[in-house]
């Protein structure tokens, strides 16, 4: 039967799942979702996912929302011995902690992107940038303690966080103050699975740069 993912490429949490699927070598069918066109609000979609969000995983009878729950499920179910999500409780806890930290990163990103996409409100969008940079500074402090996001090797935490941090970079946000984050980003970009992030992050970066530039010009 196989896996199906309902998603759109620009979305960081969707990209987090794409990267994980690629890292695990899992095949899947992609069903394109256009949220602006109302694809997540149809009765059929709401039946599968009342939260009307992407990404959504379909695996047989199971419908699973929440990108990081999807990623941990994929390892637990299809690659339970993978280093990406270690079984040892302490090591696993650190990955989980970083995955929930990543939720905050994504929320902060949305506070910049949503006012732009839905309201054309550049002032509110720009005002939200410091909060994201604060979190990236916290990630810098986390990387002082370990080479990767959650320890000494690549885990699901890196694969999730890179979707958000690469987006900040593609948007042209100021990452000059976070050298460890930049070095970490370069390392993760070398991973074969990172390929699954490229198209979407480029798309989102271009969208943000064009959209924000246009609105700032209008505001002058």
């Amino acid at each position: 039967m196989g896996l199906t993912v309902f998603a759109f490429e620009a979305s960081p949490p969707c990209r987090g799942v794409f990267i994980t699927l690629k890292a695990l070598g899992l095949e899947y069918e992609l069903k394109q979702i256009d949220t602006k066109a109302g694809d997540t609000r149809t009765p059929e979609y709401l039946e599968k996912n009342p939260q009307h969000t992407v990404p959504l995983l379909e695996d047989g009878d199971l419908y699973l929302a929440e990108s990081r729950a999807i990623s941990t499920y994929l390892v637990n179910k299809y690659a339970p011995d993978s280093d990406l999500y270690p079984k040892d409780p302490e090591a696993r806890a650190l990955v989980d902690s970083r995955l929930f930290f990543d939720v905050g990163l994504n929320t902060a990103l949305l506070h910049i992107l949503k006012p732009l996409k839905y309201d054309g409100d550049i002032a509110r969008s720009d005002a939200a940038i410091p909060a994201l940079l604060d979190l990236i500074n916290i990630f810098e402090a986390m990387l002082a303690k370990s080479e990767y996001a959650a320890g000494d090797h690549v885990t699901l935490a890196d694969l999730a966080i890179v979707a958000n941090v690469s987006t900040a970079e593609a948007m042209g946000l100021d990452l000059s103050g976070v050298p460890k984050v930049r070095a970490w980003l370069d390392k993760i970009k070398q991973l074969p699975c990172y390929e699954a992030n490229v198209q979407g992050v480029t798309q989102l970066g271009v969208m943000y740069k064009e959209g924000s530039t246009a609105l700032r010009a209008k505001a002058q």
Partner: protein, 222 residues
């Protein structure tokens, strides 16, 4: 089951902290509660930042392991101290359903924070009004979930119920859980409050925060 070294750093009011206390009590885990003086900035002290650079509560220390994020603390305590418990099932699909709801609960907490901040700190009626629909939307979702299964993540009580309980009990204490709008949530809440023998650990904090919010809303004239 006593565990020699589990320290939880937190405060009473905070729902994510109370979610951790509920889980610890549920599995009979001894822990030391360390009150964090956030008003005095204790969570930004060098010692605290060493444990958790994100300077948030709850933070947990167990031997060499220091952990932020309530949900990660919860699943760690389960994996480490109660790995066979039904509160956090082992089957990948069943576990995923719980994880999914734990993430939903993070969003629920965010929307509660969206009420607490304008009411208690910013004293901003406009902001409260702007953010209230988001809380209501999350409650609507929870009502939908509880229409599909007895408990938040399925038929059995899991750590997802305990996390949501910490949040929803606060909403109720704030006078924001209208029974007519959310009958399933109200019934689920009453059932857990009555049936869980360890529920008492949540009461003081939920009432404290809830009542402060209730008072604040009245003062704003909302």
């Amino acid at each position: 089951m006593p565990a020699m070294g589990v320290d939880i750093f937190g405060v009473q009011g905070s729902p994510p902290c109370r979610a951790v206390y509920l889980v610890a009590k549920a599995i009979g885990l001894d822990y030391t509660f360390n009150k964090v003086d956030m008003q005095a900035g204790q969570h930004r002290s060098p010692e605290f930042l060493k444990m958790n650079p994100a300077h948030t509560v709850p933070t947990m220390k167990d031997g060499d392991l220091c952990l932020g994020e309530s949900k990660a603390i919860i699943t760690y305590l389960m994996n480490k101290y109660a790995p066979d418990s039904e509160l956090y099932p082992k089957d990948p699909a069943e576990r995923a359903k719980v994880d999914q709801r734990l993430h939903f609960d993070s969003g629920l907490f965010s929307s509660i924070r969206g009420i607490v901040f304008p009411v208690l700190f910013n004293k901003n009626l406009e902001e409260f009004k702007k953010n209230k629909p988001k809380l209501d939307e999350n409650l609507d979702l929870l009502e939908t979930f509880l229409g599909r299964s007895q408990n938040v993540a399925g038929e059995k009580v899991t750590v997802a119920d305990l996390a949501v309980l910490a949040n929803v009990s606060t909403v109720q204490a704030a006078g924001l859980l209208e029974k007519d709008k959310w009958p399933r949530i109200s019934a689920w809440l009453t059932r857990l409050q009555t049936q869980l023998p360890y529920y008492s650990v949540n009461v003081e904090g939920a009432n404290m925060l809830g009542e402060a919010v209730k008072k604040g809303i009245a003062e704003l004239g909302a």
